[in-house]
């Protein structure tokens, strides 16, 4: 008498059971991907399948942009052309001197017995689109494993460092902007030679220097360049200018906000520096606390 009649329609598992299953599966995938980064293969597969669809869907946007530029007047085109020629002439002197400076540098380094710095190849790439995840700042580029792009290679534009390649598909790759929360760049202050590390994510579109004593010699407008200490970023790339220094407060540290020199917001063409990422020395082993020593220290108190 307690039994209910059999269901009229074959429903399969109930919605609650389905939610539980898919919810737990999603959380498991999240943990595996966000924490352990273990699902690269699956993401690669789906990404390679999605790539042709993405390229096809970019065509209308590019066509509209192209149509917009056709409507530009001749006068503004002439002005832009004259400006570019002027910049080229200004740069010509520096470019002509580069070869001579490079030779002189090589001779001096040989004299000092320093290791020869290998010239890095670079490849021009176009930004396909900016991803819409609210937790990261990433751009998708149109060069991938086919063009020998590997994870970790720095990406620059004409004015400075833009970011780093963080995921590579077959025909495209993703790069994380230098202002993303998880990005760090070892920098050196051009004026004084002080070394520090710039972290992203302090404020939208800004970097910050952390762990600097309030007595550090800093001025607004100082230029920060990569120090080359991590063997990944070539030294001398402009990273940013100090925008605001906040001293005071009850801690001894100073809060420094850095505005990146590269045009983070409107980028279309970027350059990937194809640094050999296998040449980076491995990370030092994490320090482990010896439990025997810890116990004996406690007992001595």
């Amino acid at each position: 008498m307690d039994r209910s009649p059999p269901p009229f329609f074959r429903q399969g598992p109930s919605a609650n059971a389905r939610l539980l299953f898919f919810g737990l599966l999603s959380i498991a995938l999240l943990i595996a991907d966000a924490r352990f980064d273990a699902l690269g293969g699956m993401r690669q597969g789906i990404g390679n399948v999605l790539y042709p669809v993405q390229r096809v869907l970019l065509v209308p946007r590019d066509a509209i942009a192209l149509g917009g530029t056709y409507a530009t007047e001749i006068t503004s085109l002439r002005q832009e052309n004259a400006e570019l020629k002027r910049i080229e002439a200004l740069n010509a002197k520096a470019l002509l001197q580069i070869e001579q400076l490079a030779n002189e540098n090589k001779r001096l380094r040989d004299l000092a017995g320093a290791r020869e710095r290998a010239a890095a190849r670079s490849v021009l790439t176009e930004v396909l689109y900016e991803t819409r995840d609210p937790f990261t700042r990433k751009l998708v580029l149109d060069k991938g494993a086919q063009q020998q792009v590997t994870i970790g290679q720095p990406v620059i534009d004409a004015k400075g460092l833009v970011g780093q390649v963080t995921r590579v598909f077959q025909f495209s790759s993703e790069m994380t902007l230098v202002t993303d929360r998880n990005m760090t760049v070892p920098v050196v202050l051009q004026r004084t030679g002080m070394r520090s590390v710039a972290f992203g994510g302090a404020a939208p579109g800004r970097l910050e220097l952390r762990y600097l004593a309030s007595s550090a010699d800093l001025r607004e407008g100082d230029l920060l360049t990569t120090s080359g200490l991590d063997a990944l970023y070539p030294p001398g790339l402009p990273v940013g200018r100090i925008e605001r220094i906040e001293r005071g407060g009850d801690n001894d540290f100073v809060k420094v906000l850095v505005a990146p020199t590269a045009e983070i917001q409107n980028n279309h063409l970027l350059v990937i520096l194809q640094v050999d990422t296998s040449a980076i020395p491995p990370a030092p082993p994490a320090e482990t606390i010896d439990p025997a020593r810890k116990r004996s220290r406690r007992s001595s108190l």
């Binding site: 898919f22 999603s26 498991a28 995938l29 966000a34 699902l39 993405q54 819409r132 995840d133």
Partner: protein, 171 residues
């Protein structure tokens, strides 16, 4: 009972449902840019079909499409999948109640669904180590909700045709 005249709807065809879901996926993949106000077309269409035809669309489809969107927007795998699974479940949960209301009432039902599901996903994501996102992430769902009347018009249009076929009328 209802506060407006109701058509007697024709049955929904699975092919049409699949077509609309694919179209919404295409709209989502298009590069609108990073502005926070861009609506999530796929979430809207999934919630719509789960409210009106929960037996033809289920939570599994939401999960798979969420995985696809995760790869496209390079978020952690499972973030959107969890969001779409929660949305499909929530839509099923109120699928007997929502069609009784007028369009304004229906929009008032689905907005809290969107916001609550997004809140749950943000909390889960923060528990796995992400920073807190900007507050205008939730603006996206207001604009998605505002598209509900258009979805109602377009997606139910084939079902609102006349039952008898007249050879002088094209549709």
């Amino acid at each position: 009972m209802t506060s407006r005249d109701q058509y007697l709807l024709l049955p929904a065809s699975r092919a049409y449902i699949a077509f609309t879901i694919l179209l919404a996926l295409v709209l989502n993949i298009m590069p609108w840019g990073r502005d926070y106000g861009i609506p999530d077309f796929l979430a809207l269409v999934l919630v719509f079909w789960n409210v009106h035809q929960p037996r033809k669309v289920g939570i599994g489809i939401g999960f798979l499409l969420g995985l696809l969107m995760d790869v496209h927007s390079s978020s952690a795998l499972g973030e959107r999948a969890l969001l779409y699974s929660l949305l499909c479940y929530g839509a099923w949960f109120m699928h007997r109640r929502v069609p009784w209301f007028r369009i304004g009432g229906q929009m008032l039902h689905i907005l809290p669904l969107f916001l609550l599901a997004q809140l749950v996903v943000v909390l889960v994501r923060m528990a796995t180590g992400a920073p807190m996102p900007a507050a205008h992430l939730f603006l996206q769902w207001v604009s998605t909700m505002l598209l509900w009347p258009i979805a109602d018009l377009l997606l139910l249009a084939p079902q609102r045709r006349a039952a008898e076929r007249d050879e002088n009328r094209p549709l």
